[in-house]
């Protein structure tokens, strides 16, 4: 009897664990359906923007953080925003109030390009 109870208890635990796992999975799926976090960071390193394309909701603030040992800037190709030159560990933030795709580059090293998708 005791042995059977243990088996049932074991089964119950497994079922509970599986339920939790499934539940957890559905939570995670639900989380993916949510809009991305309002604020985001783009790292500048080794002559590149990372991630190169970032998607944010309307109203989000994007902060570029220069982790390179070379100064860079962040200049939108259509003139929407332009940072001052940022030296190592200096940041630049811009809040995107309108939906759209914003292409930008470093005007000092124009091969460095990136994109912010605001939706």
């Amino acid at each position: 009897m005791a042995r059977k109870n243990r088996w049932i208890a074991g089964l119950a635990t497994t079922v509970m664990a599986t339920t939790l796992l499934l539940f957890g999975e559905s939570l995670r799926v639900a989380a993916n359906d949510q809009p991305p976090a309002a604020n985001a960071e783009v790292k500048i390193d080794n002559f590149s923007f990372g991630p190169q394309t970032i998607t944010v909701p309307v109203g989000a603030t994007v902060t570029w953080n220069n982790r390179d040992d070379i100064p860079h800037n962040v200049v939108s190709t259509d003139g929407a925003f332009k940072s001052k030159v940022r030296d190592t560990d200096e940041k630049f933030s811009y809040t995107f109030d309108k939906a759209g795709t914003y292409s930008y580059y470093c005007s000092i090293h124009p091969k460095m390009t990136g994109k912010v998708v605001v939706q």
């Binding site: 040992d69 100064p71 030159v85 000092i108 124009p110 091969k111």
Partner: protein, 247 residues
């Protein structure tokens, strides 16, 4: 960073005898990261080497990135250190680090008194014609160095009246030919300048911008073949000093 190359143009090339000058570049005054924690010492070492030359140069060319962040005190330091060089005349062109945030205004006020446009100019020494170009402004997204229509037009007029036997030295910060366009090592509209220079028997093209250790190349536009051929002219490395001779 600061590089120095000696150029010696031998007898019979220009009028008025031999000409020796030194090219220095990429002082990046103000930089202090591990790649070069002491740029003052590097530039001083270059000046010391210049002063130790058995054939002293008549002038210096600085091919840009004088400063790291276009700050007045960084330009001041370079100017001060270069005052210690045996050659007193220094001809500059700006690097992208010299025109940050102000579109080159402070650079032009300091170095561009006799220059046109955003800082281009020419001068003659012992029959050799030198052309300093600016290719670090108005750079487009995804693009390379840029000369722009106004500068190209000026350059065409500038060399038109010269005899084809005149030796030409063209210098700019970003390479004028495509070394590695993927990294921006090239100038997108420099090909437009090639027809202006084709008639000349001797064209030397100098640049700064690249700090990597290894061989560098320059081009010669050979009038006899009427074609652009690439010839290795010198090898250099950061802080290095190499003698380059043309006979």
């Amino acid at each position: 960073m600061s590089r120095a190359f000696v150029k010696h143009i031998g007898k019979g090339v220009g009028k008025g005898g031999d000409l020796t000058f030194v090219q220095i570049s990429d002082s990046h005054m103000g930089f202090n990261k591990p790649a070069n924690p002491d740029v003052v010492a590097t530039l001083q070492a270059a000046v010391d080497k210049i002063n130790g030359l058995s054939n002293p140069p008549e002038f210096l060319l600085h091919t840009g990135d004088i400063s790291h962040l276009s700050r007045p005190e960084q330009f001041d330091t370079v100017d001060q250190l270069l005052k210690g060089a045996s050659a007193k005349d220094v001809f500059f062109v700006p690097g992208e680090h010299d025109v940050l945030d102000d579109n080159g205004k402070a650079y032009l006020e300091r170095y561009g008194k006799n220059a046109k446009g955003s800082g281009w100019y020419s001068f003659d020494k012992k029959g050799v014609h030198f052309i300093g170009l600016v290719n670090v402004l108005n750079l487009k997204s995804g693009g390379l160095g840029s000369l722009g229509g106004e500068q190209l037009e000026w350059m065409e007029k500038n060399v038109k009246h010269l005899k084809s036997s005149t030796p030409i030295v063209v210098f700019a910060h970003i390479p004028l030919w495509s070394i590695y366009p993927e990294w921006g090592w090239g100038t997108e509209d420099s090909a437009q300048a090639q027809p202006y220079l084709k008639k000349f028997g001797s064209v030397t093209v100098l640049n700064g911008h690249i700090h990597h250790k290894g061989p560098l190349q320059t081009e010669k536009i050979d009038a006899r073949k009427s074609s652009l051929e690439r010839k290795q002219r010198w090898r250099g490395k950061i802080g290095g000093l190499q003698v380059w001779r043309r006979r």
